[in-house]
Amino acid sequence: MLEVKGLSKSFKDLKAVKEVSLELKEGESVGLLGPNGAGKSTTIQMMSTGLIPSSGEVIYNNEDALKNPKQLRRDLGVVPQDIALYEELSAYENLLFFGRLYGLKGKALKTKIDEVLVLVGLSDRKKDRVKNYSGGMKRRINIAASLLHNPKVLIMDEPTVGIDPQSRSYILDLIKQLNKENHMTVLYTSHYMEEVEKLCDRIYIMDHGEVIASGTKQDLQNLMQEEETVWIETLEKNEAFKHALEDDQTITQVIESDQGYKVIAEKREDLLGDLFDYAKAHQMKPTALAIQTPTLEDVFLHLTGRKLRD
């Protein structure tokens, strides 16, 4: 349905996006995962024809969307990362304006506005000025403005940044509904791996402007089939213990957190026993030690050596 091939973008000496290729099939929900500065926003700006790439193609329904962007723009809803609304106007006035930009008018426009307001749960606040809304409400109206023209493809650039858990959950459920019930094709970018895990059928992982892995969640987890993730919960921290783990040739990553250590190591039978031995040797008393199923966070760590939110 929508495909980009070999997309690159340079800003002076900085190569922000390098040879990115990705595809959205009709009705699927695709995640674009990567840390801040990975090139996700630049990629979707180019995909939505808002930014001209240095090289590469954007193909929509077998047509070159860079040469002829009109059809894609008609079918595309973009939810920008910023709150792209006129804050001095009410939500209703904003929706009237953005609806008219897509050729909606009269009763059809008003009906559609009422419909999306119900969808985002803000019917009772539609006359309030946007500047008086909470962060979560602004995010919801930001999404509503992209849904007025019944887009076939919805591109969302980190739509849950900086909001409370309740609003975040509301938005994630809404996106799931749009995808599953309204059959809207969704490209969802985020650096929250749990959101992408929850919403997306397929995932692309980006880092330093490149797609470094892609596939279903299972495909990505399989990248770590030679490795094991072990969680060591401890009450205290011990630098010598950490160094000992890091010095072990079979351990690829040691990540320290408030509650303990996460260890990614080659799969082997005596791994847990060795970890116990390291703890004992450094007078550490783990309160729990468990093998975990690798998360997308672990996959990212495995691929890049960095955490997603570094």
Binding site: G50, I52, R73, V78, Y86, E88, F97
Partner: protein
């Protein structure tokens, strides 16, 4: 296009502060400066060192034949005190064969006073050299010539104030309204518009029509109020008045587009607008007539400033009743500047998009 155009009005109604402020400032400044000139003469404090009381009084009477100036007798100590206390810009020492200025700070009227005194003293010298009196001179030069010139100066000054201040403040209004483009580029609404099926051409047309009209309404209302309020006459060439104002406003919109394309943030634009508007007004003759500017470099600069041509064409239409053919050159400059600014603006906006 109309959706974009109407949206700007809606936003203006929610936040009319900037437009109302500059409209109010136009009325305030023009009323203050314009009326001060029409209701009275320019007061000039004088003193003398070598004239007798009788000769001093006679000279003052002679100088006060002018409709423009009100020469007043004083003494050096008094005027020195007043200049030191910033209550007076300058005073004139009047002597039998010459005059000199005691200046505290630059004043708009000082060059006018100098010009007038030079004329009077040259005439005095010529009469003395030819052993004639002022009454003899009347046989050679009809009195009307002098009175017509003086009235012309007065009208020209008032036109300068009315037109200069109106165009200066309308520049602020239009440029500050155009700041919304920079704001929209920052908050994402600009991208949202650009990603809609509405063409760029229609988006820009809707915006430019609004900026142009808001300027036109401000100038039109200001002129209308000046006609009623201070009795200013704009002549009867309404077509040329409208054309002059329109070409000026279009060039300002193009200038605004260029500024928007060159800055990165609304804050930068907010800092740039007053600099550009005030520098334009100073170099373009909104604060004082360009005849007072003697620096060739500044005069060359004024050639690329729209307000210069706006004031020139409007003043020519109002004061001289100039015809279209006399204004073609200035209109040509305004159109050329519009094309130049617009091309630079669109080039840099597109470059950012690319």
């Amino acid at each position: 296009m109309w959706t974009i155009f109407m949206m700007q009005w809606k936003r203006l109604l929610k936040q009319p502060f900037v437009v109302l402020t500059f409209f109010g400032l136009t009325l305030l400044f023009v009323t203050f400066l314009g009326q001060s000139q029409t209701t009275g003469k320019v007061g000039v404090q004088t003193y003398t060192n070598d004239l007798s009381d009788q000769a001093y009084t006679a000279l003052i009477d002679e100088l006060n034949d002018s409709d423009q100036f009100d020469f007043r007798q004083s003494d050096r100590t008094t005027v020195e005190d007043r200049i030191k206390n910033n209550r007076l810009s300058f005073a004139v020492e009047l002597n039998d064969a010459s005059f000199s200025f005691l200046v505290g700070q630059a004043s708009f009227s000082q060059p006018l006073v100098r010009e007038y005194l030079t004329e009077v003293y040259q005439e005095k010298r010529w009469l003395e050299a030819n052993d004639l009196t002022a009454s003899d001179l009347n046989d050679y030069i009809p009195l009307e010539t002098t009175s017509v010139d003086t009235a012309g100066d007065s009208i020209q000054y008032q036109t300068q104030v009315v037109v200069g201040m109106t165009l200066y403040f309308v520049m602020y209004t239009v440029l500050f309204q155009m700041m919304s483009i920079a704001e929209q580029k920052t908050d994402g609404t600009w991208d949202r518009m650009m990603l809609s099926p509405v063409s760029k051409m229609k988006i820009f047309s809707g915006l430019f029509l609004y900026y142009f009209l808001i300027g036109l309404i401000q100038v039109g209302l200001s002129f209308l109020i000046f006609t009623q309020w201070i009795g200013f006459s704009f002549g009867d060439q309404y077509g040329l008045l409208l054309l002059s104002i329109s070409l000026f406003l279009i060039s300002i919109v193009a200038l605004g587009l260029m500024l928007v394309s060159l800055v990165k943030t609304p804050q930068q634009l907010q800092a740039v607008i007053p600099i550009v508007a005030t520098a334009s007004a100073m170099l373009g003759g909104a604060f004082w007539p360009l005849e007072f500017v003697t620096q060739p470099v500044l005069l060359i600069f004024s050639r690329v400033i729209p307000i210069r041509y706006g004031i020139e064409t409007l003043s020519d239409v109002i004061v001289r009743g100039a015809s279209m053919s006399e204004l073609v050159l200035s209109y040509g400059f305004l159109i050329a500047l519009t094309v130049l600014f617009g091309a630079i603006g669109l080039f840099f906006l597109e470059r950012k998009h690319n």
